[in-house]
Every structure is written in structure tokens, then in C-alpha cells.
Symmetry: C2
Subunit: 407 residues, 2 copies
């Protein structure tokens, strides 16, 4: 089969939330068929189905087995793919739905967060050559013992990109409830604009910063296999944002997105001996408790003593403080304190790679507004600053004005 | 494994209709484990789930593909088996749930009404020997191309009995919303009583007469493999009714059940030539339209002319009359007429096999009440009479009094 005529499309929960929306999706698929495409569709569960199923499980047990949760949750996608097949039949388009098991979407056995190990394309190619639309339940797979697994929240994006990779298509469309990737949250910054293009690394950085429209693993997959991912809305026919290799981008902004998140808290351990092994010990202990640490800054003070500051999710703060207080005694530090009212404001852009002085310019902007920067961390394509949360909105707006509106 | 220590239990939709009911089922399973049983459980979809899913499909299309309906409906049982596994884990009983696909419940490819072709016991025996409760999604299987199939309404009963057969257990418990099989509908006959035992053939006859508690195919399976099926309620610990081989029954009543149904209409074609091929032609034409004919009576009149009366479902009456009117012209009969206000009152009992004069006694009872019998048909273990529907309740009560209360 000519892979250039195959398109993979993924429709998220809001796009298939009702029988009416499912029929609208069928019409959209028809328009692609009329353009000569063979269509492979990945669907999520309808609307709030996954949450409803989780709610049912919670009524049975507070601590459900992950294997059984995957058994439970995988039904949501199975329902929507059967309904979409019916909607296509209704408008005289031949279509067939498959579960993850039926197309041998093989994963490891890590229930609730499984990784794709391989996909058999035989059945998909056979159905496509029979002129059928192939509809695949997203989010799910099976392990080598035929247990049902799921890929974690948002995993249907990964299903779609992985299918694009094995079917060797160049393009994958992800239909979601937003119409693309914006330079900032439109609810806060009125001058925000939709990006036509964004690189894989910027998209990953945005996902890490909580502003991601896509499941990070799907972006990693897209990067690895060079898939162009078109993020767009199923409620309009407007173009969205294409996530693509940086080399192919037509225009590269120094900064393509500004984000702000307030779901983390800062912890500081003061004046502990600055000797090897201390940090390793601290972060290993946190890792054992599955506490995810985001930003880390270590400063050297006097008398060979250092302070370490880092951020964790607010829900992990209590546990983190217990661990740190215990370790602080052992290390002989002076104190452990925490701050919850912080915001992490970040600027992301591939242009930073080739542009000097971006960090300095950002610090200047903050200084002009008398905003104190409590922590700074940088990556090749991003700068994050921890500031007091009362300045979060101001910082977002002023950075957007300085870097995005000005471009 | 010692099959005599394995019990197969099936819990119907009302038994698992809510998280609370599912927890109650888990407790019941615990009580069997404590008695030393290895438990294999078959579950139906929760409460009205199947109807809800059918409703969703109807909103998408009036004419859903059977393959996709099976894909859709099979999710209901998958949800309840995952939840039951969680409920067992919650009370520290190891359990694992399997879909039809996972235990290779192989069927033919007749979607929506598939027949079981074979079941692999490897995975079930393995899990039982690991001391797990094995929970299996009822109603579903897969065909040889790995498509999901369903066994038709009530098919979970068949799943359970088929499992009892392949696991070579003697007993299968079917938990339902009634606590057994009664001699008549308790809503009409107050003196009705629960039968301790009933034979396979009586149960099949009752199912045909619309008074069946079990899916007929499950009873055929039970008969074929000699499985004792215990029909009982999940809302109490009382004994229900055991469906068993007639030879093993302790007491055989002449009549074990009286039923009445009013969902059929009578059609009569009068004075058509009494020659070979006429009836065949008539019922073949009806068969082509998938119209199910229940009772048939042919009477010979004068001049080599005969009348044929038969009953069909009321919803098929219009179509039936169209076909009969057309054929009547061709046959040269005098008229076609129909009557909707009829009742089919039946008496069922294995005792009839060895008891003379039951039919005569029934006719006498009707005659005493001036109830006119419009059609009669008999089988080895049953007699059915068509009467005017105004006498339905009276007939049921008087037959029950004469044959059941008197025993």
C-alpha cells in the first residue's frame, strides 16, 4: 500500500462525547475519503466516560489493582470505536473497529502506564486494502500474556503517533478540544496567538510545564519517527498547529510560548555540608517515595555549607517535608522550610539556541517590575523562574508582550 | 485439579447492578471459598447497561452492524468483571478477570447470536491452581478471526453452563432476580410454589412458553453435558430450583408449571385446497421474513378444503397478514382473518408422560367454566390451549388449583 495516501487521525474525548459528535466525526472522515485518503482512526473514550469508570471503581475499592483498572478503563475506547464504525456505516462508508488486542498493540506489562513494544500492521493493511476505514481503540494494548494494558492518561495520542510510525505515514492529525498550540493561555493573555508550527522539543518542554496539549510520550514518538503531528479542533476545519522537526520549520521564534504553573511548592534545606553524596541521598529518598522533583537549585554558601532548593507537586509537600526534616537532622543543616504560594513562569523557544541574551532580557523585565526571582533553571530551549504567585499573571503578560507580541 | 471442588456461579445484571451489589457478590464468593471451593464466576453487565448501550447505538443508526453491536455490548460484561475482581481484592481474596477473548471462548461468526465452539481451560486451571477466583465476562466470545461475538440475550447463562461442562463440574449456580422456578406466575396465582427440582425438558418448555428463567440454549447445554443448574437469588441464601436430569428427580409432578402468554396473535386462512405443498409454501414464506410461528393447527373441512390456524408474535401480525392475503389469492381460499385478543395457556410437566387423561381433564376444566378452546397443541410434556384473552387469568388459576394445589 502507498503509505503517502494513508492518514492517521485521533479524536479525543470531547470530539466523540455524544452520538451527534460521533456523527460529525464520521462526516469529517468522509471528507478525507473523498480526497482519496485511506483513513486510520484512533478514538478516545466518550466525554467523561473514563472519569465515570474511575468513580465506579472508587466505590468498590480505594486501592484498585492496576490490572483490573486497565481491564475496566479499556472498555471506554471500545464503546466509542464501535459507535464510530456504526456512524460511518450509516453514511455508507465501510468501516471496521478493532481493540488494541485485535491489532496486537503489544506493550510491556506495566499496567496503567504501559509502553508500546510493537504493533502488527497485517490486519490494518488488509482492512485498508478492502477499502475500509480502520477504527482503533486508543489508549490500550496487551502484554505478552494477553492481559489488557493501558498507556496512561492521554495515551490515545501515543496510539495514534505509533500507528503513523508503523504505517509509515508522514502525517498524524490529533483532534482535540483546542484548535492548536498558543503562545500563552488565552484566558490570561488576550494577545496570545496560535502557532502554525512548533518543534518536538518545544512541545515536550510545554508538556513538562503543564501547558501541553499532547501526551509527552506521543511527542517523543513523533520525534523519534519523524511524524508531523497536526493538533487541531474537530469543531472547525481551520488549520491547527503542526508539531514537526525543527529543521523543517518555516519560522522559528526566539520564544514560542510563555507558561505559568502554580501546582508546585518550593522546599529549601539550608546550610548543609557541601560534600559529595548529600544531594544524591536526598533525591534518592524522594524518588523512593515516587515524589517527582521538578526544578533544583543548589547554592554554595560560607564555611563549605550549601543550601538546596527544589520544587515538588503541592500534594507531595507534606511527605517531602517529613523526609527532608529527617534527613536534615542527619546532615546537620540549620533548617528546612517550604513555600506554597509560588509560580513557575517559563519561556520556551527553539530560537533561544541561536539567540544571545534572552535570559538577561527576561531578568531585566522582572527587575523592572520589582519581581523577585527565587529560583532559576534553564534548558537549551527554555528558561523557568520561580516567583511569588501574586506576580504570576503580571509576569506572564509582560513576558508575552516583550517577547511574543514584539516579534 | 479436582473438578468436584470447582463451582461455577453466574451472577445476572440485577445481582451486580451497583457497587454495593458487587460487594455483596464478593462476600458470597468468600463464603464458598471458606467451604473449600475453587470458584469460577461468570458475570453479566451491570443492571441496565446493555439497554443503555443499545440506546446509544440507536442514536447513531437505526440499523447497526451486528459485528459492531457485539463490539459495543461486550464492554458491559468487561466492566462488571473488572469491578468484581476489585471487590474481591478489597476483602483480601485473590481474583483475576478475563474477557471471552482471553480465555479463548471460541464461537462461530454469527454475530449477536453466536454459538460456542470451544473453550480453552488452560488459563482458568492455571489461575485456579494459583488460588485465584476466576471471573469471566459472560455473553461474549471470539470467532476464528478474533472478532468479538455475543451469544444473544441471556447468553451469560450459556457461558456459565458451558464453563461447567468444560471444567467438568457437576454443578452450576445461576444467580438471578427471582429465587427459583415457580409453578405459576406469583403475581397472578397466590398459591404458586417454588419447585425444588425441574427437568431439562420442562425448563425448555417453560422457556418456549415465555416463562423461562434461563436462556434456552443454556438448558440445552446443561442437558447435553448433564450439568445440574441451580437457579437462585443473590439477595438471599435460600435454596432455589435445581434443573436436573429427569431420572435423578426425587418427585415428579404430573404438572409442574402453568403458564399464560398474551404476546401472540392467531391467524386463520379458511378453506384452501387441501393438497400437498400448501402449508410448506405458507410457512416457508413466513420463515423467509424471519417470522416465528409458534402453534399450528390444520383442520380438514368439506370438499377437500382445509383451514390453517397458527400463532405469531403480535409485532409480526401486520407483515403476516400481508403475506397470507397475497398467498390466499393464489391458493383460492375464502378468507384470511386474525385475532389479537388471545391467550396461550399451557400446562407443563414430565409426569404427563406416564399419566393418562391429563388432556381430557384440562378440557373438562375449561368446559366447566364455559371457556372455548380455539386451538390445541400438545407435546410430550406439555399442552397448550389458545383461548380468548379475557379468560386468561381465570384459566391459569383454575388449572393451578386443579393440578398443582391438589397434588
Amino acid at each position: 500500500m502507498d503509505s503517502s495516501k494513508i492518514i492517521v487521525q485521533k479524536y479525543g474525548g470531547t470530539s466523540v462525547k455524544s452520538p451527534e459528535r460521533i456523527k460529525a466525526v464520521a462526516e469529517r472522515i468522509r471528507s478525507y475519503r473523498e480526497k482519496g485518503f485511506s483513513v486510520v482512526v484512533v478514538v478516545s473514550a466518550m466525554g467523561k466516560t473514563t472519569d465515570d469508570l474511575i468513580g465506579l471503581a472508587k466505590q468498590v475499592t480505594q486501592n484498585p489493582s492496576k490490572r483490573e483498572m486497565d481491564m475496566l478503563l479499556s472498555t471506554g475506547e471500545q464503546v466509542s470505536c464501535a459507535l464510530l464504525a456504526m456512524a460511518l456505516h450509516e453514511i455508507n462508508i465501510d468501516a471496521v473497529s478493532y481493540t488494541g488486542s485485535q491489532i496486537k498493540m503489544m506493550t510491556d506489562g506495566n499496567f496503567s502506564n504501559a509502553k508500546i513494544a510493537g504493533i502488527s500492521t497485517d490486519r490494518i493493511f488488509k482492512s485498508l486494502s478492502d477499502n475500509k476505514v480502520v477504527i482503533i481503540a486508543g489508549f490500550q494494548g496487551i502484554d505478552e500474556d494477553d492481559n489488557i494494558t493501558t498507556l496512561g492518561r492521554g495515551g490515545s495520542d501515543t496510539t495514534a503517533v505509533a500507528l503513523a510510525a508503523v504505517l509509515k505515514t508522514r502525517d498524524c492529525e490529533i483532534y482535540t478540544d483546542v484548535d492548536g498550540v498558543y503562545t500563552a493561555d488565552p484566558r490570561i493573555v488576550s494577545s496570545t496567538r496560535k502557532l502554525k508550527e512548533i518543534s518536538y522539543d518545544e512541545m515536550l518542554e510545554l508538556a513538562r510545564l503543564g501547558a501541553g496539549v499532547l501526551h509527552s510520550r506521543s511527542v517523543e514518538f513523533a520525534k523519534k519517527f519523524n511524524i508531523r503531528v497536526h493538533v487541531r479542533s474537530s469543531f472547525s476545519y481551520d488549520e491547527g498547529t503542526i508539531v514537526m522537526p525543527v529543521e523543517e520549520m518555516m519560522e522559528k521564534f526566539i520564544i514560542s510560548g510563555i507558561t505559568s504553573k502554580q501546582d508546585e511548592a518550593k522546599v529549601t534545606i539550608r546550610e548543609i555540608p557541601d560534600k559529595p553524596g548529600i544531594s544524591a541521598r536526598l533525591f534518592n529518598e524522594l524518588g523512593k517515595e515516587k515524589i517527582y522533583v521538578n526544578m533544583i537549585v543548589q547554592s554554595t554558601g560560607q564555611d563549605n555549607r550549601a543550601s538546596i532548593s527544589f520544587t515538588v507537586k503541592k500534594e507531595d509537600l507534606k511527605k517531602t517535608m517529613e523526609i527532608c526534616t529527617e534527613l536534615n537532622k542527619e546532615f546537620g543543616g540549620t533548617s528546612v522550610d517550604s513555600k506554597e504560594n509560588i509560580a513557575i513562569v517559563s519561556a520556551v523557544g527553539v530560537g533561544m539556541l541561536s539567540s544571545y541574551g534572552v535570559a538577561g532580557k527576561i531578568f531585566g523585565v522582572f527587575s523592572d517590575q520589582n519581581i523577585n526571582i527565587e529560583m532559576i533553571s534553564t534548558s537549551e530551549i527554555g528558561i523557568s523562574c520561580v516567583i511569588d504567585s501574586i506576580y504570576a499573571e503580571l509576569a506572564l503578560k509582560i513576558l508575552h508582550k516583550t517577547f511574543v507580541d514584539a516579534e
